[in-house]
């Protein structure tokens, strides 16, 4: 081309350069287009993901918020009758059952989980590695299986459904979560701290109690709160062992049948009364609020911990 205008002989190097530039710009145009499409699809995927999840949150607030009141949390349920189809009463006994069962489950699981975490952090032997594998596999074990276990050993043996059987199932579900979090927290305690204490002549139990545990406590607490959040919402094992049907009476005694909130939601969702089906959303919002409080405080502790470590 240049040869026609300038009258000079063709320059092969210049022509080659122009060809390369042309190809490069074509390639860039093509790659930019592909990139635009791919990033566009990403936005679409994010939108598709957020629509149903947003719908869950919206339904919870939309259908649940009108139930929230002090009366709802503290009074007993009332069965709808022909005269008053819309009476629902409260969920006081379910709140009480949830508090009793989950507090006892934490009481069982926290010491075992924390000491197990200490064991896993301390030993690298073959049995410890095996136990570490068991702990990780138990973390993903479907919770209904623990329900079958608690049924066989507690409901059958005691000849009665009971809150305590649910405590056992939930406790076993909580232990691996707490143990794993504690192990990581203990492992992150600086070696120098422990060695300094040992060099001063402290026994290992004293080092564990006064050095390792206090330093690792935020990490341990994070794990405990996460495990508790999981246990509070757990439905499947509770449904098998806590009670034969949903109960409308006060009961603080864990050796008797109980109806914690997840079980009440399941019962109300399948109820024949429209008022109970509606009230299921009130219970669900209460339960989700409880879970949100537990997970959020767990996250606050862990972010603060990270910030302190950085500074």
């Amino acid at each position: 081309m240049s040869s026609i205008i300038t009258g000079l002989p063709p320059d092969p190097i210049l022509e080659r350069r122009q060809l390369i530039q042309l190809k490069a710009s074509q390639s860039l145009a093509r790659r930019t287009l592909v990139s635009r499409i791919v990033t566009g699809l990403m936005w679409v995927a994010l939108g598709i993901a957020l629509v149903p999840l947003g719908s869950v949150v919206f339904a919870l607030v939309d259908k649940g918020v009108r139930f929230l009141s002090w009366h709802f949390f503290t009074s007993l349920p009332q069965l709808p009758s022909l005269l008053s189809l819309n009476t629902i009463g409260g969920i006081g006994n379910a709140v009480a059952a949830t508090l009793v069962i989950d507090a006892l489950a934490a009481l069982v699981a926290v010491p075992i989980g924390v000491i197990l975490g200490l064991y896993l952090a301390e030993w690298r032997s073959a049995p410890a590695n095996f136990l570490r594998a068991i702990v990780e596999i138990m973390t993903g074990m479907p919770s209904i299986l623990l329900g079958v276990f608690a049924y066989e050993y507690f409901v059958v043996a005691m000849k009665s459904y009971s809150g305590i059987a649910a405590v056992i199932a939930l406790g076993i579900l909580m232990v691996p979560v707490i143990a794993k979090a504690s192990e990581l927290a203990f492992l992150s305690v600086p070696r120098s701290l422990r060695e300094a204490a040992l060099a001063l002549g402290a026994r290992e139990s004293r080092v564990a109690r006064q050095i390792v545990l206090p330093t690792a406590i935020p990490g341990v607490l994070t794990g405990v709160l996460l495990a508790l959040a999981r246990a509070v919402g757990e439905t499947a094992p509770v449904l098998l062992v806590a009670g034969p049907t949903i109960s409308n009476l006060w009961n603080w005694n864990p050796f008797h049948p109980m109806t914690p909130m997840p079980m009440l939601i399941f019962g109300y969702a399948n109820s024949e009364y429209p008022s109970q089906r509606a009230a299921a959303w009130g219970v669900a919002l209460t339960l989700v609020a409880l879970v949100v409080i537990l997970t959020t405080s767990s996250r606050l502790i862990s972010t603060r911990m990270r910030r302190e470590r950085r500074s």
Binding site: P52, L60, I115, L116, P142, L145, A284, V291
Partner: protein, 320 residues
């Protein structure tokens, strides 16, 4: 605390170290406590597995292979054939993964690399929060919101699409395998996004910036740098989500329609290994309780293998 014995200069160093260790820091009762608690937990797990095997044993001896291959499960009288349950468990999980893997991965990539930082944290928090919502709430949402949507919109549309042919034939009453799969997909999506995003955050920024500086476009960076680097971790996230979908009980039990027959279409009602235990175990008598425990055993073996696989994957990712 015991006092140190005087150390003479003639003792070999190793002996001295051993002596100090024993006298000053060795702490038998403490170590014994740690070992005892660890052994106790191990014993509880053994007892747990044993209780399910023991309960399942009568059904295993009386029904044999029929527990896996039998095509029909009739509550109360038998026969107790587990094939429909296994088919339904695998098909609902497959539907869930078919939606949750691509959408979850793409959302995680978008959230980590596309969304402006100011929007990223609130969205990530919302998704992590949804990962903690109890499954019974997803089940309730499935009944109240998804069932009407399925009956009025989605099922007629899909049926129209194929002219009423398989797999979209049969009664359109909302409850069924397709709904259970979709609810599962929505349930495991937050876990999928949250875990994948954690994995993507570990991809070194140098690699990404290096590729960009060489003229790679964003999609090239994703496909040739980010995904290959994070491959093992992302696979771990997928396996984790699979395990959750296989074992999910309550949400599935609420929306699948509880009918343990082989499905004719995606609209058929069904029952999974986990959901039938939740629905039937409380009022099962005689052999049925034992047959349900056998289903629990099958579920335990499947999820145990899946979780062990996830563990092996993540360990390899860490050691590399």
């Amino acid at each position: 605390m015991s006092t140190l014995t005087p150390v003479s200069g003639h003792q070999p160093a190793s002996e001295v170290v051993e002596q100090i260790r024993r006298s000053a820091t060795s702490d038998r009762p403490f170590k014994f406590l740690l070992r005892a608690v660890a052994a106790f937990f191990g014993a509880v797990v053994v007892l747990f597995v044993w209780s399910i095997v023991k309960t399942a044993w009568p059904a295993i001896t009386s029904q044999g292979i029929h527990l896996i291959t039998g095509k029909s499960w009739i509550a109360g009288t038998g026969p107790y054939g587990g094939l429909p349950l296994i088919v339904d468990t695998l098909s609902t999980t497959a539907i869930a993964l078919a939606f949750a893997i691509p959408i979850g991965l793409a959302s995680a990539l978008g959230l980590q690399f596309q969304v402006t930082p100011r929007l990223r944290q609130p969205l990530a928090s919302l998704i992590e929060l949804l990962a903690a919502v109890p499954s019974v709430v997803y089940g309730l949402w499935g009944i109240a919101v998804m069932v009407p949507f399925f009956i009025n919109t989605l099922e007629p549309f899909l049926s129209h699409l194929t002219g009423g042919a398989w797999p979209f034939n049969g009664p359109q009453n909302g409850f069924g395998i397709l709904l259970a799969g979709m609810v599962l997909a929505i349930m495991i999506l937050p876990t999928m996004v949250a875990v994948s995003r954690d994995v993507l955050a570990t991809v070194p920024q140098d690699l990404i910036e290096g590729a960009l500086s060489l003229g790679a476009t964003r999609s090239q960076v994703f496909f040739r740098v980010v995904l290959p680097t994070a491959r093992t971790g992302l696979l771990g996230a997928i396996v984790l989500a699979t395990g959750r979908a296989l074992g999910e009980t309550i949400a599935v039990a609420m929306v699948i329609g509880s009918n343990a027959q082989l499905p004719h279409s995606l609209f058929s009602s069904g029952a999974t290994l986990a959901s039938i235990i939740a629905v039937e175990f409380g009022n099962a008598v005689g052999t049925e309780g034992s047959a349900l425990a056998a289903m629990a055993l099958i579920l335990m073996i499947i999820t145990g293998l899946v979780n062990a696989g996830a563990r092996a994957l993540t360990r390899r990712a860490v050691s590399r």
